[in-house]
């Protein structure tokens, strides 16, 4: 759950009265844009991306305009532009028009929880507007602070002294930056980055920090995010329809992040335990449809509901239903297997059978009762299966599931379809 840009950022910053430039959204009229140019001389045109997209300037995706014509041309160029960073890909949908802020000084500021200190940590430099990684360490202050008391003015002042910041920026930053902790801590953020903050001279030469870009990450486990009243579709690019549906069932009891690895995969692997999830996803590679962790002892109803959603979205394309986990510590195997088995039975009843080979690798409480229950279900559905206990290496079981998938691709699927009385076309 990440957010970038001033379209929404400016509104969030207004919660703590942190200054921002004037911003117009994608639906701004030409009159409004002209008016903005008239008052500020220069406007920046930036694409609107969902999620956490950085380094737009470097990618040439920040436009500048001093006339309406230029502004509209940049709008056209950037409205649906594409952005790649590493494997991450984003497509814009809209632009913002942001008033230019005249300034001599630019500041970088962020708050995040740093695992090196295990504390909220401020990163601050007066050499803002560029990549923080490219600056000499002496110019950057990285300062952990106490979570219970928060980011205090003296912490900011000390940091600015340490890095030798120009004296005219110290007082305005000491006044304004601590407010940002309130935004981070009380609205469920994990990260906030303002880069650049431009130091705008006001009457009498006093500088005011103005946030000219905005990035933040939210903690999906923190209900405080709801206080901001952000529309949920802001985060929709983060998730597929399946993920959205299945993650609605996310609670503290069982089932962590579930996401789609390969929409065209052929192994559907409900995985139990974070470690198993990592291992399974890594070894299955492209064959995996989803990456999931359903551990944490989910109750029967929840397991059945989660399994139903998985089946509804992906069972048709699935060659191998692969239920996999280590030797569970407290997840009840009978309850979870019964949930998945009953969901499968109901799916077959509603949608008809589909050729499937079921592989299980599991250990834990009520193991054999769980296996027996699932076996009965699979037998009544006429599906072939192989169940491994915890004395087979989990990675070998994963490789076995891949071998079954191979066999299914090379004709096994048709063979099972035939035993289920399915016509080849339907299979």
């Amino acid at each position: 759950m990440q957010l970038n840009g001033l379209l929404h950022g400016a509104r969030l910053l207004s919660h703590v009265d942190f200054p921002t430039p004037e911003v117009l959204g994608p639906d701004a009229s030409e009159d409004a844009i002209q008016n903005l140019i008239d008052r500020h001389g220069l406007v920046f045109i930036k694409p609107v991306f969902r999620g956490g997209v950085g380094k737009k300037g470097k990618a040439g995706l920040v436009g500048k305009a001093r006339t309406l014509k230029e502004a509209l041309a940049e709008k056209e160029r950037l409205y649906f532009c594409e952005h790649r960073h590493g494997n991450a890909y984003a497509k814009a949908n809209g632009v913002t028009f942001e008033a230019g802020v005249p300034a001599e000084e630019e500041v970088y500021f962020s708050i995040t929880d740093d695992t090196r200190f295990r504390a909220p940590t401020m990163t601050l430099t007066h050499r803002g507007g560029m990549d923080i990684e490219e600056l000499p360490k002496s110019d950057v202050a990285t300062v952990p602070f106490e979570a219970l008391t928060g980011l205090k003015a003296f912490v900011v002042a000390n940091a600015l002294s340490d890095i030798g910041a120009p004296k005219e920026i110290i007082s305005p930053l000491v006044q304004h930056l601590p407010k940002l902790w309130e935004l981070v801590h009380h609205y469920g953020m994990t990260t906030l980055e303002l880069n650049p903050i431009r130091m705008r001279p006001g009457s009498g030469g006093r500088l005011t920090p103005v946030a000219c870009d905005f990035k933040c990450g939210f903690d999906r486990d923190d209900p405080r995010v709801g206080r901001l009243g952000l529309p949920s579709q802001l985060f929709a690019s983060d998730v597929s329809a399946f993920e959205q549906e299945v993650n609605q069932l996310r609670t503290h009891q069982g089932q962590s992040d579930v996401f789609v690895i390969n929409e065209k995969g052929t192994i559907l692997a409900p995985t139990f335990g974070g470690g198993a999830n990592s291992l399974v996803t890594e070894v299955l590679g492209e064959a995996a449809i989803i990456s999931s962790d359903f551990g944490g002892n989910p109750p029967y109803e929840k397991m059945k509901a989660v399994a139903s959603i998985c089946y509804r979205h992906f069972l048709k394309q699935t060659n191998v239903l692969f239920i996999i986990g280590g030797k569970s510590n407290n997840t009840d195997i009978l309850e979870t297997f019964r949930g998945m088995g009953d969901a499968l039975r109901e799916h077959f009843a509603a949608n008809g059978p589909t050729p499937l080979y079921v592989v299980v690798g599991r250990g834990g409480p009520n193991l054999v009762r769980g296996m027996g229950n699932l076996a009965e279900t699979l037998e009544s559905l006429g599906l072939p299966y192989r169940f491994f206990g915890f004395d087979s290496a989990i990675s070998e079981v994963v490789n076995y599931a891949k071998r079954v998938d191979e066999w299914m691709r090379k004709g096994g699927r048709e063979e099972i379809a035939a035993t289920l009385g399915l016509k080849a076309a339907a299979a």
């Binding site: 999620g51 030797k327 009965e376 070998e396 096994g412």
Partner: protein, 903 residues
């Protein structure tokens, strides 16, 4: 602001050595001890650790206790009450829901000055709360483990605190040895310990750290305590991407680090975890590099490329941990703690190939699981057949379903259209064994049913004739016969079937026709053997020998029959029927496709099939040794089910040309799903007997239920289409309906009818009368397009065309729908529906006899009804068996609140 613990660390850390993390002296208070997870886990922890939990809290539950094998744990409303009651503790365990964790930690810290450690099990704690928890603990000098972890355990001290390390049998995994484990994954903490055991390595202290953003007891803390713990000679770490906890650690003893999660960096978008936003250097690859630098190795350890140093090794697969550790320790001159326990090779415990021929690498043979699991699995194996959960089966069926779009019904996964193309004897077993019968089974079934059809000398025949003479429709005649085939009439054959299943269930017999199977291990006592032998009263029944001879002659094979033939006595007809039924049911039963109940009751259905077909033949034609003039030997030895049904309807054996349409007709009529009236009748009859006491359900009465729920509107209406065709073809001189060169101008006939129908339509509109419906034309589902088709009609038409068969009546119907449209009698081209196909096929079959005057219109009507009953008899058997297996007593009734009263 932190409380100073160990000197020289810029934060608080109290645990100096791993040996201090979980000790026998630790006393524990569990917050939310009565929560779902704690209730399961805490009793095992408490008992394993010698009773270390002094009390738990659960607001509003003071006075209750949590029962454990090591005595009850008292429950208080809050920590203060527990302390006031005299229970001192130094360790808190938090099982609270996420929103309550921070406050629980505050409670523990503020209320109990003796607190030293907290283990937080809860997952999905907000980062906001984790920050504050960290700050509180640091300021007050408390060590925290977790959150989102499974706690800590110590194999030397036999203690576990917090979560469920080692599962419900901690002693199986927590084997005393020399290796410490620190793992981001709770599940893998136990799994790694178990894997180490396969290479002979036991454990000292196991720490499940959790992998939230805030890891309160993290890798550097572990490294320090590991260095100070003399018991621990080596450590195994399991780490996932995110966070810098593993960076820059100076390890003082050998370590095997497993880093998993490279796939995460291949994702096309960020996945919530520490540092994901900045995308900075804490990916799996980075962590591998940190460890490789720390250990001075150049690559990842794999069995093929075992890269190790005396300092350690890096693996990316937890299965490689034991080998890597052994290799590292060898360089340090250290041998495993004990002899290896088990191995990690692939060992399928339970499998079912459903009769598929799997290649070797897929069809791995099942191995016996270690105890106690092996014994439990063996107990499962002794369970013969499937077990089906009972539920309310009103308007539901596990046997049949009609696709609302195509209106095509499937029975046990087989569409009736496909069944229509199979020999009848293949379909007759389907409802009961859920599979299409094999060639061998068809032979067995043909003979078994043929032996039941001739009812000479049986009171059934008298009753059936009396019913017929009283003017009843064929369903009532059949019902009269079925009513007599009550429980006593099948008592012995069912007992025989049960005895065969008992005797062979665990014999290892897989294929029922495997006559080479060695039955020397099959044991049967004298009383049971006697069950199968003919009694002196049966001495005059010639059928057993005739059946055996027929099966032999037709190449039928049965391990059961072969076994029974060795019993040294004359077999009864019941014995042969039981062996036949068991042969047919055996495969599905062993594969757990069907229940034992279904297999045991199969002979009842087979007998009913025979009697119901037999009852449709008037009594005069049942003679000793001959039915409608056909000798026993011929019927048993060569006739099929289709032949018998044709004989019952026409008094003669069909030619192959005649047998096919009959087979298609019966196939099409097998089922229309559980909503049809006939199915409802059958299901209601089962429900009323009470399927939860299956032994009391009268299957013959359920057949009567089906039969009484058919009638002139449901079943008998098949004649309407025939009557319509008779009217159209009256006086045309048609002799052979299957001859395309019939010389009739079908188009002209259809056009003429359509013109008349249009006039009729107009006239009835003017007077506001209801227009007569045309049988066989139009369908409430397949309508509204310019040209409409009933997919079932098209299926049959295409099949017949492919087989080079012609049917003039069917052809006429196709002309008719066109003509109705062309003449303005229909708004679009109506479909020819499946009823038209049935009428056309049946009329063509009976046309020669009708033309010759051997059959009257009344006979045609009876034939149409009878053929419906034959088909539906199969479908009803499926519903009866399904309801018997799945249903609940009286589950088909409708609650009074859903019933209406009409005045």
């Amino acid at each position: 602001m932190f409380h100073q613990g160990i000197q020289g660390i810029p934060y608080y850390l109290g645990v100096r050595s791993l040996g201090e993390i979980a000790t026998r002296e630790d006393r524990v208070c569990v917050l939310n001890v009565m929560g779902g997870e704690s209730r399961q886990v805490t009793p095992t922890s408490h008992a394993f650790s010698g009773g270390n939990v002094v009390f738990g809290t659960s607001p509003g539950r003071a006075g209750q206790v949590l029962r454990t094998p090591a005595g009850d744990i008292p429950v208080f409303n809050n920590v203060r009450e527990g302390l006031a009651a005299g229970h001192a503790f130094n360790t808190g365990v938090v099982y609270l829901p996420p929103s309550g964790v921070r406050d629980g930690v505050a409670e523990l810290i503020r209320v109990n000055p003796g607190l030293r450690k907290i283990v937080i099990i809860t997952e999905k704690i907000a980062v906001h709360d984790a920050r504050e928890i960290r700050a509180m603990a640091q300021g007050n000098g408390i060590d925290i483990i977790g959150g989102n972890c499974l706690g800590v355990a110590d194999s030397w001290n036999r203690v576990r605190i917090g979560g469920a390390l080692g599962g419900d049998h901690p002693e199986e995994s927590l084997l005393k040895g020399s290796v410490a484990i620190f793992s981001n994954s709770g599940g893998f903490t136990t799994t790694i310990a178990q894997y180490l055991g396969t290479a002979g390595w036991g454990t000292t202290t196991l720490v499940s750290s959790g992998k939230d953003l805030y890891i309160h007891y993290a890798c550097p803390d572990f490294a320090r305590a590991f260095a100070a713990d003399d018991r621990s000679k080596a450590a195994v770490l399991y780490a996932e991407p995110g966070g810098y906890y593993e960076q820059g650690i100076e390890w003082t003893k050998p370590v095997v680090a497993c880093v998993v999660g490279r796939w995460k960096s291949k994702l096309t978008r960020a996945v919530g975890h520490a540092g994901a936003m900045a995308g900075s250097g804490d990916k799996a690859e980075d962590k591998e590099r940190w460890f490789m630098q720390a250990f001075g190795v150049e690559g990842i350890f794999t069995p093929e490329n075992p890269v190790v140093s005396a300092k350690g090794a890096v693996v990316t697969n937890i299965a490689d941990i034991p080998a890597a550790l052994t290799a590292v320790m060898r360089l340090n001159g250290m041998a495993p703690d004990f002899a290896p326990r088990g191995d990690l090779a692939l060992k399928p415990w339970v499998a079912n190939d459903q009769g598929l021929r799997l290649p070797g690498e897929v069809g791995l043979p099942v191995v016996t699981a270690p105890e106690p699991y092996g014994g439990q699995i063996a107990a499962l194996g002794r369970q013969v057949g499937a077990v089906v959960a009972r539920q309310n089966m009103k308007d539901k069926s596990g046997a049949s379903v009609m696709d609302p779009k195509t209106q095509v019904t499937s029975v046990h996964g087989h569409e009736v259209l496909d069944l229509a193309l199979l020999p009848l004897e293949a379909c007759f077993a389907l409802p009961l064994v859920h599979e299409i019968a094999s060639e061998n089974d068809r032979v067995m079934l043909d003979v078994a049913v043929a032996a039941e059809v001739n009812l000479v000398g049986d009171p059934i025949l008298v009753a059936a004739d009396a019913a017929r003479d009283a003017g009843n429709a064929p369903n009532a005649v059949m019902a009269t016969a079925a009513a007599i085939v009550g429980p006593k009439r099948v008592e012995r054959v069912l007992a025989c079937t049960r005895a065969l299943i008992d005797a062979f269930a665990h014999s290892g017999l897989r294929r029922a026709r495997d006559e080479a199977f060695d039955t020397s291990g099959v044991v049967m006592d004298a009383a049971t053997r006697a069950l199968f032998l003919a009694t002196p009263e049966e001495a005059g029944d010639p059928r057993p020998e005739a059946m055996l001879a027929a099966i032999e002659a037709r190449g039928g094979r049965s391990a059961f029959l072969k076994y029974l033939k060795g019993l040294d006595g004359r077999l009864s007809r019941d014995a042969i029927l039981a062996a036949t039924a068991t042969t047919i049911a055996w495969g599905p039963l062993m594969r757990k496709r069907i229940s034992r109940l279904t297999a045991e009751t199969l002979p009842w259905y087979l007998r009913l099939y025979g009697v119901m077909v037999g009852a449709t033949i008037p009594g005069a034609h049942h003679q000793s040794g001959s039915l409608w003039g056909i000798g026993r030997e011929e019927r048993f030895g060569r006739w099929t089910m289709a032949d018998l049904c044709f004989l019952a309807m026409t008094g003669k054996k069909p030619t192959p040309e005649e047998a096919l349409p009959l087979q298609i007709l019966i196939g099409l009529l097998i089922s229309n799903g559980p909503g049809s009236i006939s199915a409802q009748g059958a299901k209601g009859a089962v429900s009323a007997d009470g399927p939860q006491t299956p032994g009391r359900v009268q299957i013959n009465k359920a057949m009567v239920g089906f039969l009484t729920h058919t009638g002139y509107s449901h079943g008998g209406n098949g004649f309407e289409g025939m009557a319509f065709l008779l009217e159209q073809f009256k006086g045309t001189g048609l002799t052979d309906p299957s001859d395309p060169g019939h010389g009739l101008d079908l188009k002209a006939m259809a056009t003429e009818f359509a013109r008349g129908y249009r006039r009729e339509k107009k006239a009835s509109k003017e007077v506001g009368a209801e227009l007569r419906a045309l049988p066989g034309v139009h369908h409430p589902i397949f309508k509204g397009k310019p040209v409409n088709h009933d997919p079932r009609e098209r299926f049959v038409a295409e099949y017949m065309a492919k087989a080079g068969r012609y049917n003039v009546f069917h052809a006429f119907y196709r002309e008719l729908v066109q003509a109705l449209y062309e003449q303005g009698a229909s708004p679009y081209v109506f479909c020819v529906n499946v009823d038209a196909v049935i009428a056309a096929l049946l009329l063509a079959l009976l046309w020669p006899d009708y033309q010759a005057g051997r059959l009257s219109e009344r006979d045609l009507e009876t034939a149409a009804f009878t053929v419906f009953l034959y088909g539906r008899m199969i479908g009803s058997a499926a519903e009866i068996d399904d309801h018997l297996n799945r249903g609940r007593n009286m589950d088909t009734r409708t609650p009074a609140s859903q019933c209406g009263f009409v005045v």
